[in-house]
Amino acid sequence: MATILCATRGGEASIHTQEHAIRLAQTQDANLVFLYVADVQFLSQATAAIVVDVATEIEHMGEFLLLMAKERAEKAGVKSETLVKRGIFRHALVEAAQEVGATMIVLGSPQEDNPAMQSLLEEVAGVIKEQTGVDVVIVDRSDAV
């Protein structure tokens, strides 16, 4: 059975991506797994003392966001699983794809009006496809659900 891995966060763009993945799971009768990556690279910009376990707090936030995605899928009649991983997004995504045996990866396009960002995302998608052998779908905000 096919497995769709949808990497997501929680913003408006992510909701569109989640709905697209739910629709794909419906039409392909596939398993759906929502992935959240607790990537704390932004902390490297910090110059102040970071004495708190930020990664764990962000993991908790990710679990909450994925639960919302799961409820969204359930409302559409699609059962789904959730997975939270810690680390750099690209590496965590490859690891998760191998772990769940993904046959398709769905990614959102966070800034569709930014060509540089879009091109970077396509490059990342290409690398991930090369590393996992799995098709990567980038969902644009203009894509119909």
């Binding site: 929680g10 763009a13 932004f42 910090a46 003392a49 004495v51 707090e57 990710g62 909450f64």
Partner: protein
């Protein structure tokens, strides 16, 4: 257990040694005797600031070599006992790097007075600054460091180390070929490090490191969600109050790293834009820390430099901070008025339970002890001044006691101490010392002094808004560190300002409130933005600007108004 006890004992011992009373720096040479004649005087620069570490050489009876010598102390005073020989002529020379040498031969009548009275006090000797190559090296190193920090090309600690390394390279390598490159030696540089700041920051890091794991902030935020029962305006105000209290007692970045994830979840549970909770929290965090000595790193710097205690900040800043907070709340409620009207359809039981789970108290035993010790620390921060107990000792004693009570993994505790921040402070102190040593800060202070004159209201406005607007783009810690000697000089020229320390409070308000201007203006803002971005709600520069700039300008005005009321109109 043994390792932890040894570590604790080491911490306390080290703190007590570092914070021991200063020993007099004046060292007399050539032997001393109560009956010997004595020469004394004061050294200042052209701005009336005391000059320490200047070498005073006394030549007797036209000898080629000095009979005695001494160095001036921190307050610029110097005193020497002369050897018990027949005095026919007395000639003194004063030398110090970065100043013109001074030479004076006592008149016959003055030598006679010295012989008759057994002592002679000089009028204050004024040394003129000398612009050397070292001046330009120190100035370039300081500007270079600020640019590295502002551009984020290097981590702060590394940038400050690079700056002070340039100074040392000029002093010791270039200075060996051309003395004009001399800036300051290691002994002088180390003397500029404020160990009270280092130990206060370190002690608080340990306390916060233990407290953060208990989950108290997340639990409080969840209680705010429950109590507000879907009333968004009430929720925003309660979260602002929680963030403010936490930021006043702990550091702002830590507070926001704990508050932001749970606030995001609460916002999503209510179906509102998470930025309606996060941005007010950022603003509150940056403002409220001003009211206590330990609330912001700049207050720690200011407190240690000017001897302003925990109670002084509370008494002189709290009402101003409350006024600024009230202004900020009105503005954010207006700015997010669209969100206030939204009504939540409620969340599923699963989501509610998840939120509750993420906000639970994780370690009740540690929380209990942390509460007891932190309460004790607050007590000693307040009464410590009457016991001559500096805040850094209170912080270290509290940290050590907490370590002993909660028995955490000592290796983990050593990891929560952010050594890079401590290195940053040390390197920064030395670098600011270097620019102070060569007279650069004196030049800037003179310009400021000429601008402000003896006008206290103008001084308050310049300091609050000047530091505030500069903090939009310059990291406020190096800014405050560099401005402290300037504030001291300007305060000396305004009647009553040195005693009331009002301009230090103005610097405190400006530097902290200015951090609210742009999303890039402060660490708190950037870290919160990072978390929001991880949830898919990036805080764009433009969106933040629309609320950050008006709130900053209005709160700076509120802070200025308070300082006027407290000091300029009522005389403090």
């Amino acid at each position: 257990m043994i390792r932890r006890t040894l570590f604790s004992a080491l911490l306390v011992g080290l703190a007590l040694w570092m914070l021991r009373p200063d020993t007099p720096v004046t060292a007399l040479q050539g032997g001393q005797s109560e009956s010997r004649p004595e020469l004394s005087g004061f050294l200042t620069d052209s701005r009336g600031q005391a000059i320490s570490d200047a070498e005073v050489l006394v030549f007797l009876n036209d000898a080629a070599e000095p009979a005695v010598s001494t160095t001036s102390s921190e307050d610029g005073s110097w005193v020497v006992d002369l050897p018990g020989t027949v005095l026919e002529s007395v000639h003194i020379e004063v030398e110090r790097h970065h100043y013109e040498s001074f030479s004076y031969r006592l008149a016959e009548s003055e030598v006679e007075r010295l012989r008759m009275d057994g002592s002679f006090a000089f009028n204050t000797i004024v040394l003129e600054n000398q612009i050397t190559l070292g001046f330009w090296v120190a100035a370039a190193a300081f500007v270079f460091t600020l640019l590295l920090i502002a551009s984020e090309r290097l981590q702060n600690a590394l940038a400050a180390l690079a700056g002070i390394s340039i100074v040392f390279a000029a002093t010791f390598i270039l200075g060996a070929f051309n003395e004009s490159f001399y800036v300051l030696n290691m002994e002088r540089a180390l003397a500029y490090i404020n160990w009270e700041v280092i130990f206060l920051v370190m002690g608080m890091m340990i306390v916060v490191g233990i407290l953060e794991g208990t989950g108290i902030f997340q639990w409080l935020a969840f209680q705010a969600y429950r109590v507000s029962r879907g009333r968004i305006s009430l929720l925003i105000i309660v979260l602002i109050v929680i963030t403010s209290v936490a930021s006043a007692l702990l550091d702002n970045v830590t507070t926001m790293l704990l508050m932001a994830p749970i606030s995001l979840q609460i916002a999503l549970a209510l179906g509102i834009d998470p930025l309606a909770l996060l941005i007010p929290e950022i603003l509150a965090s940056n403002i409220s820390g001003i009211s206590t000595l330990i609330g912001t790193p700049t207050n720690i710097l200011i407190g240690a430099y000017a001897g302003i205690g925990f109670n002084d900040f509370l008494i002189n800043q709290t009402l101003g901070v409350l006024g600024a907070m009230a202004v900020m709340i009105v503005v954010v409620l207006y700015f997010f008025r669209g969100e206030l009207k939204k009504t939540s359809g409620g969340i599923s039981e699963a989501l509610y339970n998840k939120l509750k789970e993420n906000a639970r108290i994780k370690d009740a035993r540690t929380l209990k002890w942390s509460g007891v010790v932190f309460g004790g620390m607050l007590f000693f921060f307040i009464v410590g001044e009457s016991l001559h107990m500096v805040p850094s000792v209170t912080a270290l004693l509290g940290a050590t006691l907490l370590l002993l009570l909660v028995e955490p993994d000592i290796e983990k505790m050593l990891r929560v101490v952010d050594w890079t921040t401590l290195v940053f402070f040390m390197a920064l102190f030395m670098l600011v010392g270097a620019v102070q040593e060569v007279g650069l800060l004196g030049v800037f202070a003179e310009i400021m002094g000429n601008l402000i004159g003896a006008n206290l209201p103008l001084g308050i406005v310049v300091l609050v808004f000047g530091a505030g607007l500069l903090s939009f783009v310059i990291a406020n810690i190096p800014l405050a560190a560099a401005l402290l000697p300037v504030v001291r000089f300007v305060s000396a020229g305004i009647p009553g300002a040195a005693e009331s320390q009002v301009l230090y409070y103005a610097l405190s308000m400006g530097a902290a409130m200015g951090g609210n201007g742009f999303i890039i203006s402060g660490e708190t803002n950037l870290m919160t933005s990072g978390i929001a971005e991880r949830a898919g709600y990036p805080i764009s520069f433009a969106r933040y600007l629309r609320i950050g700039v008006p709130v900053t300008l209005l709160t700076l005005a509120a802070g200025t108004g308070w300082l006027f009321l407290r000091f300029a109109l009522t005389g403090g």
